[in-house]
């Protein structure tokens, strides 16, 4: 069975490295983008099962990205989990996110969100 693909979108290179390392160690496939435009450029060619999305980014921020994503029929249904340091969960609702994690969140909270969205009922975690 193919392991779920997680796209992590954040302008902070250390955040990208850390989250990708955490997910990779759990058995997920990961791809990364430094802003919304870079993420849009890759979602159709390598459709992720879930997108972890920062909101405050240069070039194209998280809100603009989610609006652009919803306009693309092939990828408009990809669930988004907002990962933000702005401490305002209302903004996750504004982008129609399936989940919200306020940085710094717990690793287990991240894994639970990702597993809850990507796993079919009764299916074990990718690395289990």
């Amino acid at each position: 069975m193919t392991r779920p693909l997680v796209l992590v979108v954040d302008d902070d290179p250390d955040i990208l490295d850390a989250i990708c390392d955490i997910l990779d160690a759990e058995g997920y496939r990961v791809s990364r983008a430094r802003h919304g435009q870079e993420a849009l450029d890759q979602v159709e060619s390598a459709r992720p099962d879930i997108i972890l999305l920062d909101l405050m980014m240069p070039v194209m921020d998280g809100v603009a990205f989610s609006q652009a994503l919803r306009q693309r029929p092939l990828v408009s249904d990809i669930p988004i989990v907002v990962i933000s340091a702005d401490g305002n969960p209302q903004r996750a609702a504004a982008v129609g996110a399936a989940g919200y994690l306020a940085k710094p969140f717990d690793i287990d909270a991240l894994l639970a969100q990702v597993a809850g969205i990507t796993r079919a009922p009764g299916e074990p975690r990718p690395g289990a």
Binding site: D12, D14, I15, A25, G87, K103, I107
Partner: protein, 238 residues
């Protein structure tokens, strides 16, 4: 005035107060955002290391996570130091030691600490500024970090105008909008200098000068010293 009586607040004063309050709220929100990112990576990498076996911790992944953790904590330290300096300057609670200082002397001290980012400087050794030297150096360091982001070479030129001395910082293009909106400045700076512009702006103001953008470069202005005599060079050993 009766102590129970509320003083009348003129509409323009109230508007200025609200504007100042919005600016402060925006600044603090930005500070929190900038600190949470490296704090997150520091916590996650420390936790990942703690979950690893002793043997794995000594391997390539352990080394990578340790380096990330250290880098993140160092970044948090820089942000915290800059933030509290901004707060002390805002509160006016920082005692200044103002004296005549050689512009070149102060700049050379900064360049010595940042040889990688700084290509050159061009400053008259007889030019003096009337400042707190430690604060001027911090402001110059902050501007070197901003102008030298992504390994952009930095050149600093100082020139006298009327009663001031202006330090022109040439490097990465300066954006006017960054003066009022820190998110347009150096957000997510990997070295932790996201607060460099707000800090330099506050220091310049505290020293009686200012920070502006002119033709795509930063201009840090401070008062010129009326009389400045360069310190004699130390005598060479016989």
């Amino acid at each position: 005035m009766d102590r129970t009586e509320s003083p009348e607040v003129k509409p323009e004063v109230a508007a200025r107060g609200a504007e100042g309050s919005d600016e402060r709220a925006g600044h603090l929100g930005f500070v929190a955002h900038e600190i949470r990112n490296p704090l997150s990576t520091a916590l996650w990498t420390a936790e990942m290391l703690a979950r690893m076996t002793t043997q794995d911790r000594g391997g390539a992944r352990g080394e990578k996570l340790s380096a990330m953790c250290l880098r993140s904590v160092t970044r948090v330290r820089q942000l915290v130091e800059d933030h509290f300096m901004c707060e002390r300057l805002d509160a006016g609670g920082l005692p200044l030691r103002v004296e005549a200082v050689g512009a070149k002397e102060a700049l050379d001290a900064v360049l010595e600490r940042h040889p990688a980012e700084t290509a050159s400087s061009d400053v008259d050794p007889l030019l003096g500024v009337q400042v707190d030297r430690g604060l001027l150096e911090r402001a110059l360091e902050a501007m070197v970090a901003v102008a030298g982001a992504e390994r952009t070479p930095v050149t600093i030129v100082a020139h006298a105008t009327d009663g001031d001395v202006g330090f022109e910082v040439h490097g990465r293009r300066a954006e006017q909008a960054a003066l009022a909106d820190p998110t347009k400045g150096s957000p997510s700076d990997p070295s932790g200098r996201a607060l460099a512009i707000p800090l330099a702006r506050r220091i310049a103001a505290a020293l009686g000068g200012g920070l502006t953008v002119q033709e795509g470069r930063w201009l840090l202005t401070v008062p010129r010293a009326r009389a400045y005599t360069p310190r004699p060079a130390p005598a060479a050993n016989p």
